[in-house]
């Protein structure tokens, strides 16, 4: 589903943010991307949804080489990738329902069909009763669930989450992670960037560790969790 071949990312005058990244994520897989701050986790995610361009190397997403993708083709690639951020990025003056249907507006889904899809998605994330609320009236966990609903409402094949629980307390963190696990079980490929070791230990998923822009380990869930405990 996602493949990196000798990928480099550098900004002029600075040391490379990513060096010689080789990575393969299978369809339907759940992968944690971990490492200290500045290790390159966010940049790696940004390369996948074309918010940044690789300096060198090839990146395949769904079999398509996106390392040299045309600017005009980027929106169509993004329609297949849901993205969740730590800072939510919700529109405060729109209701929960409008925030989620925002994705469908872009795709030109008729209003009635969009409303049905949005309601189903809000039910999935447990927020159907908050459809008419405004984001600032919701808790952090609820806001993050709205973001997840927005990212999933058009059935993307990939979900990228950058520190999705970074702003949440432990109880809400579990709530969100359980939701992401559910989404993965439904068949969506999920890549979560986090530096929270407790998550890695609890969920025991494949873990790719980055340090100073390089992959230093790529372990299955059990092995990674064991190392976390030790």
């Amino acid at each position: 589903m996602i493949q990196f071949f000798h990928v480099y990312k550098a900004y002029p005058g600075d040391p490379p943010v990513l060096s010689d990244i080789n990575l393969s994520v299978e369809k339907g897989e759940f992968v944690f991307l971990t490492g200290p701050s500045g290790a390159g986790k966010t940049t790696l995610l940004k390369l996948i949804f074309c918010a940044e361009k690789a300096t060198k190397g090839q990146i395949l997403v769904g079999g398509r080489n996106i390392a040299r993708i045309r600017e005009s083709a980027v929106p169509y690639l993004r329609r297949n990738i849901g993205v969740v951020f730590q800072d939510f990025k919700l529109l405060p003056h729109r209701t929960v329902e409008d925030n989620v249907s925002f994705t469908l507006d872009v795709l030109g889904v008729p209003r009635a069909a969009a409303r049905d899809k949005v309601r189903r998605m809000l039910k999935l994330v447990g927020l159907e009763h908050k459809a008419n609320s405004f984001p600032l009236r919701l808790s952090g966990g609820e806001q993050q669930r709205v973001v997840i609903a927005r990212a999933l409402v058009n059935d993307p094949t990939i979900l990228l989450a950058d520190e999705p629980t970074g702003n949440l307390d432990p109880a809400l963190t579990v709530e969100i992670m359980d939701l992401l696990t559910q989404v993965n079980i439904r068949g969506t490929t999920v890549v979560v960037a986090t530096h929270d070791a407790t998550l890695l230990a609890r969920y025991q998923k494949r873990t790719v560790r980055l340090e100073r822009g390089q992959i230093v380990s790529d372990e299955d869930g059990v092995k990674a969790a064991r190392r976390m405990v030790v």
Partner: protein, 300 residues
């Protein structure tokens, strides 16, 4: 289905945009309205000027002087030729009739003409020009053609006055055109600047749109529509202003200058053609401004 949903979304989004930053859009609409109101006034003034020139052309009497050596038959021949060229009504005034007319016009002083040894006045043709030729340019062309006719010694139609007026009208038109272009340019810049503020206030929304797969065109369309709506509103306000101007000031102007300008000055200031022109110009200004704004701001 998808296109219809998108179109609906664009209009809804544009309307929300107008509602979202009312002050910014108020400035843009006012700017467009002022520019179009000025343009409408300039158009109205130009029409008054045209009426003046046309009426002046209608009143000008073209007199074609015939060569003194011309006989009666030859004079009739020239008359026929002039009639053919001008498509107007031509009256032959023989020298005796011309002298008699002068004597009548001079009144008591006219008796002095009896002392003249011989009649100094040449035979002349008085030409009543048809309406389509009553413009300074057409009169100039006609006079040139008449002067070239054999047997014609001169043509008079108040040439200098008409030429001076034409030059003034041309200078006024050119000046107003330059001013209009400058005002249009300034309006586009102001509209673009205000729309940039509106776009900036919605940058978060744009960022999310791009994130969920919106194309550049999709992001830009509502802002272009906002510009279009601004233009339409501006044109509406300008037309309302011109209509009010025509109602309040038009009659006063008409009564003040009717002796000079004729009935044209009292003509309505808002005509169907002007409505179309101003609405078109308003849409152009709004779209132009928003095009500049989105082009500069949405390079994402």
């Amino acid at each position: 289905m998808s296109a219809l949903a998108k179109t609906r979304y664009f209009w809804r989004s544009a309307a929300v945009g107008l509602k979202h930053s009312p002050f910014v859009h108020f400035i843009a609409v006012t700017t467009i309205a002022i520019a179009l109101f000025s343009a409408g006034l300039a158009r109205g003034s130009a029409r008054v000027l045209d009426n003046l020139l046309a009426s002046l052309g209608g009143e000008v009497e073209v007199t074609v002087y015939l060569a003194p050596e011309l006989g009666q038959d030859e004079a009739h021949g020239v008359r026929a030729r002039v009639e053919e060229l001008s498509k107007g009504q031509v009256t032959l005034v023989p020298p005796d009739a011309a002298l008699e007319r002068l004597r009548t016009e001079l009144g008591d002083l006219g008796e002095a003409l009896a002392e003249l040894p011989e009649n100094p006045l040449p035979a002349a043709l008085e030409l009543r020009v048809p309406p389509e030729q009553r413009t300074p340019e057409a009169l100039q062309v006609l006079a040139k053609e008449l002067r070239a006719l054999p047997g014609v010694s001169g043509v008079d139609y108040g040439e200098q006055a008409v030429e001076r007026l034409t030059a003034i009208a041309r200078a006024l038109r050119f000046g107003s055109l330059v001013a209009f272009v400058v005002v249009l340019g300034a309006t586009v810049v102001i509209v673009a600047a205000t729309l940039q503020l509106a776009i900036y206030s919605r940058r978060e929304e744009i960022e999310i749109q791009k994130l969920v797969g919106a194309t550049d065109r999709f992001v830009k369309a509502p802002f272009l529509l906002e510009g279009l709506l601004q233009g339409l509103l501006g044109a509406g306000v300008a037309l309302l202003g011109l209509w009010a101007f025509g109602r309040l000031v038009g009659p006063t102007l008409g009564s003040l200058f009717a002796f000079l300008l004729g009935p044209g000055v009292a003509a309505p200031w808002v005509e169907p053609r002007l409505v179309m022109e101003l609405v078109g110009a308003g849409c152009g200004l709004g779209l132009g401004g928003s095009f500049v704004a989105v082009g500069r701001f949405l390079r994402v």
